[in-house]
Structures are given as structure tokens and as C-alpha cells.
């Protein structure tokens, strides 16, 4: 039952072949069984079963909604009313929001059930789900040599939740590839929508001009269904687009006839044998379906990755300034344990300056990768470096966006690999950070240009792992991406 897609589960629920309570309980049992993968930071067993009971009543009286009784996993950066939301950081270890993020509220309003909050890289900064205060998440897939693999990141928990059948679908977030890269490593489907299509209200911010919510699912139809519910204008997010949202799943047509598909020559250079094979097969399949392939020079796709590593940390250094131990989150104990808030301990805080409180709280509360990016962002924005780095990066971002605009005058979608390699083992993690950042070689340009892109599994590597294929389209081309993705899968 838990291996089924959301649309198959909905059909079984409607036909009374299964109940939502039984479904939720089966997922909870599986979560317990596969606990060593460390997928969830918080499991919402009690509330999920209660909601499932309500869902079953709705099915009984015929008032079920679009996602009635479907258990979903939410990345732990979506604020969930009354449920701890940590962003995988010690600094938010005990933070319990009193409001719901817009996208999770929309899913709940259609009957979805939050089964738990998934692990991630702290504040979404990473591509391996190894930088979490709550410990690393492991890929459910194993290579022939039996080594434990990384799941990718930062939405690694959400990807494994879907791949290991620990939820019917999940929510990730994508700032530089954080949905698509773990989707590729775990053999699931993930879409990064057009910037502004999904509200960011209630999403804990990393880099606000790049962050975008998106679903992760077992197949393209499920991803389409989740996105059409999540998307839509929200007055609480000033960057939210006010555009009509089509029924992506209802309109889904696995057809590529007449489509113009670009393949970047630079993405064919230096490809691994696995990626080369994947691209060859995908190109042939597209041609067989009536699409025309255009080989195009587009060096900016790979060249602009460092731009992402300038823009994102600068925005992060500003967004994360609010974590200072004053209003919420972890507070350093200082000379007295102020968290206990006894009259005596308050007296002791007088020995601690406010600056010491800030720097000690942030020293204790943030992990190394977050500190590294805040320091980088602060340095780049400081006097004497702003023009050389930030201003130049913004100008190149403009060049990139213009290049994509020109490209999409004659092209419907771009076909590219999602990652340079399939999932790798824990002992193969590079030791230098720039090599780790190169995991994002095929993904960051999409975020810098605000475009949508879908990642899905396509074929297998020599070592038997799923390979990740990516389609990129112009703004608001989600339907085309779902259609072409559906054809290829």
C-alpha cells in the first residue's frame, strides 16, 4: 500500500479499499522500522492519526477534498502551527510556531495530513543533508558495494521520505538545487517552480530572492497534483505572483510532438559515462516522440555557480541576523542560566554585555556551514568588497537572465543532467568546499534566473543507482515541464 502513488492511494480511499487511519498507521510503522535513516526530526503520530480519522469520516459522508487522508512529510523549515519547526538548527531546537506556512495550510485545507517534519541541512545550507543539528540523513538506496550513500540536500529528508515510502509525498525547498539534487540521488520526482509561484510566507528564509517551495513525489502526476494545490497568490508574500494556476494534473499530456528541446553543448562536455548514456537515451526518446533537439552554446549554465555562492550567502547573512537569542530560539546561558528566568539568574545576566549574548548565542546555535556562509556573506557585503563581489554577481545574474530570455524565444525546454554523478558514499564526500559546491553545477543557474525546472529519475548508473534528468523551462512553463517529464518517465 505505501509504495503507491498519491493518485493511486486517492483512488483506493475513494473506493473504500483502504482507510486513511490504516494508511497513516502503516507509514508510522515503516518510519519506526527505518528509523536508522534519520529522515524525520519530528513525527506527528498522534495528530496524524486524529486527522486520518476525520478523513475517513469525510470519505464516509462524501465530503472528501482533493488530498483527503494523504500523509505528507514537510521539510522542517515550513512553519507548522503548534508543531516544532527547527530548520535543523540548534538555534531553533525548541521553536514552536503559532502560525502555519501558506503552502502547508493550502495542502492541509485540501485534506492532506502532516505525518512529520523532515531532516535537512541546517537552514537549507548544504547539498548532502549531513549538516543538521539532528544528525545526518542517509539515502535508503544502496550501491553494489553496500556503502551508505548520502541522500543529497538540502531536502534530503523529504527525498528519502518519498523514496523509502515513509510518506506519500513531501515538501522540499529549492534555493540552488535543494529539491532537484536530492530527488536525483534518491530516485524521486521534484519540481522547483517559477520564483513567486508558491508563497514563501512561513518558510524559514535562507536567500529570499532565490528560495522557492516545491513538491517531491513518486511520479510526475503526483508532483503536478501537489503543485497545483500549493501554488497561487498570497498577499502575505510581496514576491508572490498573481497568476491563474492551471490544473496541472488534470491537463497532463505525455506528449512532446513539435517541442523544441535545447541541449547545452557545455553540459555534454566532461560528462561521466553514466550521464552521457542517460543524455543519449533521453535525446533519442525525445526525437522518437517528435521533438526537435537543438544543440546550443550556453556556457553561463555552469559558469554562474559561483554567482549563487555570492548572492545566497549575502542574503543569508541578513536573513539570519534575527537569531540573536532575544525574542525566540536558543539563548546562550552566559554567566547565569537566563533561560530559567529566575530572579537570581536574571541578576547574573547583568554581568553579560548584550554583544556577548549575541555572539555567544550565535556561536553555540549555528553549525559550521551556516557560520561559514554568514561570514562569507558579511565579508562580501563589507566595505571594499561589495563592488568586486556582490555588484558584479548581480550584473552577471542579469546577463544570465537575459541569455535565458533570448534562448526561450525559440526553445520550449532545456534537457540537462541534474547532478554530475549519482549519489556517492559518505567516505567519498570531498574535503574541500568548492568541490562540494560543484554538486550544484547544473542547478543554481535556474534559481538565479527565477525559472522552473523539474528533476526525475531516468535510467540507472553502472552501479545500479538512479540517474537524474532535468528539464528547464521559461517562467510559468510548469505544465510543459510536467508534460515532457511525463513523456520521458
Amino acid at each position: 500500500m505505501i509504495q503507491s502513488t498519491i493518485h493511486a492511494l486517492l483512488s483506493k480511499l475513494r473506493n473504500k479499499e483502504i482507510t486513511s487511519v490504516a494508511l497513516v498507521q502503516t507509514y508510522l510503522d515503516e518510519i519506526e522500522k527505518q528509523k536508522e535513516l534519520n529522515v524525520y526530526i519530528t513525527v506527528c503520530a498522534e495528530s496524524a492519526l486524529k486527522a486520518a480519522n476525520e478523513a475517513d469520516k469525510r470519505y464516509a459522508n462524501g465530503t472528501e477534498r482533493k488530498l483527503e487522508g494523504i500523509p505528507l512529510a514537510f521539510k522542517d523549515l515550513y512553519c507548522t502551527n503548534g508543531v516544532r519547526t527547527t530548520a535543523a538548527s540548534k538555534i531553533l531546537e525548541n521553536f514552536v510556531p503559532f502560525y502555519e506556512s501558506t503552502v502547508t495550510q493550502k495542502l492541509l485545507d485540501e485534506g492532506a495530513i502532516c505525518i512529520g517534519k523532515t531532516n535537512m541541512d541546517e537552514f537549507a545550507m548544504g547539498s548532502m543533508t549531513q549538516y543538521s543539528h539532528f544528525g545526518p540523513t542517509y539515502n535508503h538506496l544502496k550501491r553494489a558495494d553496500g556503502k551508505r550513500l548520502i541522500p543529497g540536500g538540502s531536502s534530503g529528508g523529504s527525498a528519502v521520505a518519498v523514496g523509502a515510502h515513509l510518506a506519500a509525498g513531501s515538501l522540499g525547498s529549492d534555493t540552488g538545487g535543494s529539491i532537484r539534487q536530492p530527488a536525483a540521488f534518491c530516485g524521486v520526482v521534484g519540481i522547483k517552480p517559477t520564483y513567486g509561484l508558491c508563497s514563501r510566507f512561513g518558510m524559514i528564509a535562507f536567500a529570499s530572492s532565490l528560495d522557492q517551495a516545491g513538491p517531491m513525489a513518486k511520479d510526475v502526476r503526483d508532483a503536478a497534483l501537489l503543485l497545483e494545490i500549493m501554488a497561487g497568490h498570497d498577499p502575505k508574500d510581496s514576491t508572490s505572483l498573481d497568476v491563474p494556476i492551471p490544473s496541472y494534473s488534470g491537463n497532463l499530456k505525455a506528449d512532446v510532438k513539435g517541442k523544441n528541446v535545447a541541449v547545452f553543448n557545455e553540459c555534454l562536455q566532461d560528462l561521466s559515462a553514466d550521464n552521457k548514456k542517460m543524455m543519449d537515451v533521453a535525446i533519442k526518446k525525445l526525437e522518437a516522440g517528435g521533438a526537435t533537439i537543438h544543440y546550443v552554446d550556453f556556457p553561463l549554465m555552469k559558469e554562474t555557480t559561483p554567482v549563487y555562492y555570492i548572492i545566497a550567502p549575502t542574503e543569508a547573512s541578513s536573513n539570519l541576523a534575527k537569531y540573536d537569542g532575544v525574542r525566540f530560539g536558543h539563548r546562550a546561558a552566559g554567566n547565569g542560566d537566563v533561560a530559567k528566568a529566575t530572579p537570581n539568574s536574571r541578576a547574573k545576566t547583568r554581568d553579560l554585555s548584550i554583544d556577548e549574548l549575541f555572539s555567544k548565542t550565535r556561536q553555540e546555535g549555528f553549525g559550521d556551514e551556516v557560520k561559514r556562509r554568514i561570514l562569507m556573506g558579511t565579508y562580501i557585503l563589507s566595505k571594499g568588497h561589495y563592488d568586486a563581489y556582490y555588484l558584479r554577481a548581480q550584473k552577471i545574474q542579469g546577463v544570465l537572465r537575459q541569455a535565458f530570455t533570448d534562448l526561450f524565444r525559440n526553445i520550449d525546454v532545456v534537457l540537462a543532467p541534474t547532478t554530475p554523478t549519482p549519489a556517492f558514499a559518505l567516505d567519498e564526500i570531498p574535503t574541500d568546499h568548492t568541490s562540494i559546491y560543484l554538486n550544484d553545477l547544473y542547478t543554481t543557474a535556474v534559481n538565479l534566473a527565477g525559472l522552473p525546472a523539474i528533476a526525475f529519475p531516468f535510467g540507472q548508473s553502472e552501479s545500479g543507482l538512479p540517474m537524474g534528468c532535468q528539464l528547464i523551462g521559461p517562467e510559468l512553463s510548469e505544465q510543459t515541464l510536467f508534460d515532457v517529464g511525463s513523456y520521458l518517465t
Binding site: 555562492y309 532575544v326 525574542r327 557560520k371 561570514l375 563589507s382 552577471i396
Partner: protein
């Protein structure tokens, strides 16, 4: 371009992040490596009149009216040191 230990300490001061001596050593090496990698951007040609990139949908306007109820009591539930209706902090004025 490399970064010095003094610059790392200066950035940490601006960012209000306490660092140990070992942290300073480590981040100086790591950030230096990343900045060196970023130098590749100097090879990308930028037209003279290139405007800065801005997301184009940043003009969403709302009515100039208060739409938020008073959540002060809920905010205090996450405060590390709530004192009456205020956030407790160390003495700020010397």
C-alpha cells in the same frame, strides 16, 4: 583574492558570531579557497550598460491597513527569557 585572519575576525564581529582561535584559522583557509574559486567570474563579460538583476514581481501592493491581530502573547511563548510582557535582555546601557 585571499582573506586574512584579521578580516575573518572583523567579519565575525560584524556578524556577531563568536569564534575560537581554531575557528579563525579554519575559516581563513576555507573562505580563502572559496574566494579564489569565485575569481573565475572575472572571465564573464558584462556589457557596459548591464542593469542589475531584480526579480520583476516585487510590486505587489497591499492596502495600507493593519491586517495583523495582536499576537504579542503568542510571541512570548517562544521567548527565552519572558519578563512580564517583555523580552528579558542583559543591561544595554552602561
Amino acid at each position: 583574492m585571499s582573506i586574512t585572519k584579521a578580516e575573518v575576525i572583523y567579519a565575525a564581529g560584524l556578524a556577531k558570531i563568536g569564534l575560537t582561535d581554531q575557528d579563525v584559522e579554519k575559516f581563513t583557509t576555507e573562505l580563502g579557497g572559496i574566494l579564489h574559486w569565485m575569481e573565475a567570474l572575472n572571465n564573464i563579460a558584462i556589457p557596459d550598460n548591464m542593469p542589475l538583476y531584480r526579480p520583476k514581481n516585487l510590486v505587489c501592493e497591499r492596502d495600507d491597513a493593519n491586517s495583523t491581530p495582536d499576537y504579542s502573547a503568542q510571541f512570548m511563548t517562544n521567548a527565552p527569557d519572558p519578563q512580564h510582557d517583555f523580552f528579558g535582555v542583559p543591561k544595554v546601557i552602561e
